[in-house]
């Protein structure tokens, strides 16, 4: 008899059972607990914590997109922040005319169009050469914004303020709470999309093209189209994240979408575990919290050791960021998602050993 609580074996009798994501009651229950937990979490946090949490959620959304491009399709993308920037600038331009729930998909679509254009070279080039093409896009994007008077040449474009949502006025005190719920809802929806992607024809061809595009070609998939579409879809995620970031930070400034941020996204994807859903949350959370803790730590260092002319404390932060990437790659290339998997498989079989 099949045990609905734990996975004791494969008792699937229908196709519908085989396609469920959360097969057992305990898995469904843990999902419900997680969702409810996230929804009530703000009750227990102060405003400052919410700000960090929002940033992690928004970055997680962008990293999901990067995981489609780089994780699923294997196309290294060093220009992801530029996609996010395209979304953010679109948001800044359309926000005065549209409600925020309409701004998000519009920003996503415009970024997706940009993604498709950047993906076009992928028809011909691959691997490292493609990575450098995305780097070129990042730099050209920054230059183009800097030369567009309509975009304040990279200066601040303020987002609408004093928004009222169903009679609920958003101001300093509740800004981060409001955008937490918006970001979280968007993230959950898009994470389900991400999770289901691999079960679609398109998702499977992504992985096939990553593993061997010639073989995929021989089997009737179109590697070129698949790659372009991967860029478009990944950029869509980044675009929505960009619009959320614009609202969250209250103004769009070019520095928020620079090469440094692109590199940060790659680091988050790697540390989290490339191509994994849970890694897309864990990576941003780990690196953002690491940075904040290192900052606190750096002030402690400053108290004890502060030689003239050198700022040892401040140097700790880039050092920790770099070491996190390097150590993960060497010792845990599958990222935090792998730890999560080990932890889960332990609890899945509990109380049995295996």
């Amino acid at each position: 008899m099949r045990n609905p609580w734990t996975r004791t074996g494969n008792y699937k009798t229908s196709y519908a059972q085989d396609t469920t994501i959360f097969a057992t009651y305990s898995e469904q229950a843990s999902l419900a607990v997680f969702l409810i937990g996230m929804l009530v979490l703000p009750r227990f946090l102060v405003r400052g914590d919410m700000q960090i949490l929002d940033l992690i959620l928004i970055y997680a959304l962008a990293v999901l997109g990067l995981n489609i491009i780089t994780g699923y399709a294997g196309l290294i993308n060093i220009g992801h922040a530029a996609f996010m920037g395209v979304g953010a600038y679109t948001a800044a331009l359309v926000a005065p005319h549209l409600p925020f729930w309409a701004v998000l998909p519009v920003s996503g679509l415009v970024a997706a169009a940009a993604g498709a254009v950047v993906g076009i070279p992928a028809l011909r080039i691959k691997h490292l050469y493609l990575a450098i093409a995305t780097l070129a896009f990042q730099l050209i994007f920054e230059w183009a914004v800097g030369h567009s008077p309509a975009l304040e040449q990279g200066g601040a474009m303020a987002m609408p303020r004093g928004m009222v949502f169903f009679g609920y006025k958003i101001a300093f005190k509740n800004h981060h709470y409001f955008w937490y719920y918006v970001s979280f809802t968007v993230l959950v929806l898009m994470a389900f999309g991400f999770r289901n992607l691999l079960r679609t024809r398109f998702g499977r061809s992504l992985v096939a093209v990553r593993d061997n595009d010639r073989a995929a070609d021989a089997m009737g998939m179109d590697p070129g189209k698949t790659k372009v579409f991967a860029f478009a879809l990944g950029a869509f995620y980044a675009g929505v994240a960009g619009a959320l970031y614009a609202y969250w930070s209250r103004a769009v400034v070019i520095e928020d979408y620079s090469l440094m941020i692109s590199i940060k996204f790659l680091a988050m994807a790697i540390v989290g575990g490339l191509g994994t859903l849970v890694g897309s949350f864990l990576g941003p959370a780990f690196l953002e919290l690491l940075d904040i803790n290192m900052e606190t730590f750096s002030y402690a260092i400053k108290e004890i050791y502060n030689p003239p002319g050198v700022d040892v404390g401040s140097a700790i932060r880039p050092l920790a960021f770099g070491l996190a990437i390097v150590l993960f790659l060497i010792f845990e290339p599958r990222g935090l998602a792998n730890w999560w998997r080990l932890l889960r498989s332990y609890f899945r079989n509990w109380p049995f050993k295996y």
Binding site: Q51, L55, G146, Q153, A156, E255, D311, S314
Partner: protein, 390 residues
């Protein structure tokens, strides 16, 4: 008998409790690492040292200042986080840094009403909208560039000028006003050029020469400016160079050497070699807190001090008036401020309409390896005309 001792102990605790000064936090968020950290590092040290001096000398009685210099790595998300932390803690004033970070925070600063003193002298910081709570320590880049154009128009009427700017909002800030002012002054702005981060500026310089440019006015940081004037020297061009606050200074002299000779620089701070209370104060403070010579000579060091000093002065005013130290009272004190300070060439004055602290600027010229003032402190009349239409 036992009771008596308890009472004494209680009294002692109470006295100590009252003697402990009120703690006031002042936070600065800027780049100690990352882009522009060459300026940010010394700016932070200026803030720290001024703060230590205030605490050590008991300049504001009854208040102990806790000055935090936070490294935001030129990343606006970090700046935002630091700022909100300051708001949540109830800090009475906030010291900012970059142009991008300040412009991004403007709507929020307006919303929470926390006085904000940036290191970026971008005119957009104090232009509407959302400009009530932002205070520039010294005159804006636009006014600096116009001041130097006025000087150029005086020494060589009808001159042809090129603007060489940093490829960012910081660099682009004064362009519009400078163009208008040039029209009024009868000089011609031939070209506005964003300077690439190149190793060689021959192409740009040769083109300037072809167009008959006599002066290049820089709104940039010292590094690229030094390279461009070195190239100009090597090419044997007769072009003269001039620049706003962040373009010049001792950093430029160190980098460009003899090529910097004759560079016209506009700023509101004193030079370390000058005789006078301000320069001596900066040097003494640097020596007292063990700063290396590079820091003391850098213009960013007194700049940081002035920002901290304005904040502390406003807090002192509020304290003397017997008011609670909070954002609103410090804001009111700032609006009424008229402080005869020794750090800059003029008094720090603010009002409801005037959010520029030191209105006076000086033009200095590089002569024999130091910057020598060539004008008395003055404020640009033209700037008000072209920018505000007054």
């Amino acid at each position: 008998m036992k009771n008596k001792w308890t009472l004494w102990a209680l009294a002692a605790v109470l006295v100590m409790g009252f003697a402990t000064a009120e703690k006031v936090h002042i936070m600065w968020s800027g780049a100690i690492t990352g882009p522009t950290s060459d300026a940010g590092k010394y700016y932070a040290q200026g803030i720290e040292d001024y703060c230590s001096w205030v605490n050590d000398t008991g300049y504001v009685s009854g208040i102990e200042f806790v000055c935090e210099t936070r490294d935001d790595q030129y990343n606006n998300a970090n700046t935002l986080r630091n700022f909100e932390e300051a708001v949540d803690r109830g800090d009475p004033v906030f010291l900012g840094y970059s142009t991008g970070g300040t412009l991004q925070l403007k709507p929020l600063v307006q919303e929470v009403g926390l006085p904000f003193i940036p290191a970026s002298y971008h005119i957009g910081n104090i232009d509407p909208p959302d400009n009530d709570y932002i205070f520039l320590p010294i005159a804006s880049y636009s006014e600096q560039v116009i001041a130097v154009l006025e000087y150029i128009a005086k020494v060589s009427p009808g001159a042809k000028v090129a603007l060489a700017i940093h490829p960012s909002p910081f660099g682009r800030a004064p362009v519009k006003d400078a163009k208008k002012a040039a029209g009024e002054l009868g000089i011609e702005i031939v070209e506005v050029q964003e300077m690439a981060k190149g190793l060689d500026y021959t192409a740009t310089l040769k083109r300037f020469e072809k167009k008959g440019v006599q002066y290049i006015v820089y709104q940039n940081v010292a590094g690229p400016v030094a390279n461009m004037i070195k190239d100009a020297g090597r090419l044997g061009l007769k072009i003269k160079h001039a620049g706003a606050h962040y373009a010049g200074g001792p950093d430029l002299l160190r980098l460009a050497g003899d090529a910097a000779e004759g560079f016209l620089w506009v700023t509101a701070y004193y030079m370390p070699h000058e005789q006078g209370a301000g320069a001596k104060f900066v040097k003494d403070l640097g020596a007292k807190y063990g700063r290396p010579a590079d820091a003391i000579e850098s213009v960013h060091y007194p700049s940081g001090m002035l920002a901290a000093a304005i904040a502390i002065e406003a807090i002192k005013e509020a304290k003397n008036a017997g008011k609670k130290i909070n954002a609103e009272n410090v804001y009111q004190a700032l609006l009424k401020m008229n402080w005869q300070n020794k750090l800059a060439v003029g008094p720090v004055t603010y009002s409801k309409k005037d959010h520029v602290g030191v209105d006076k600027l000086r033009v200095l010229e590089a002569r024999g390896g130091t910057f020598v003032p060539v004008t008395e402190p003055f404020s640009s009349a033209l700037f008000r005309k072209v920018h505000y239409g007054e």
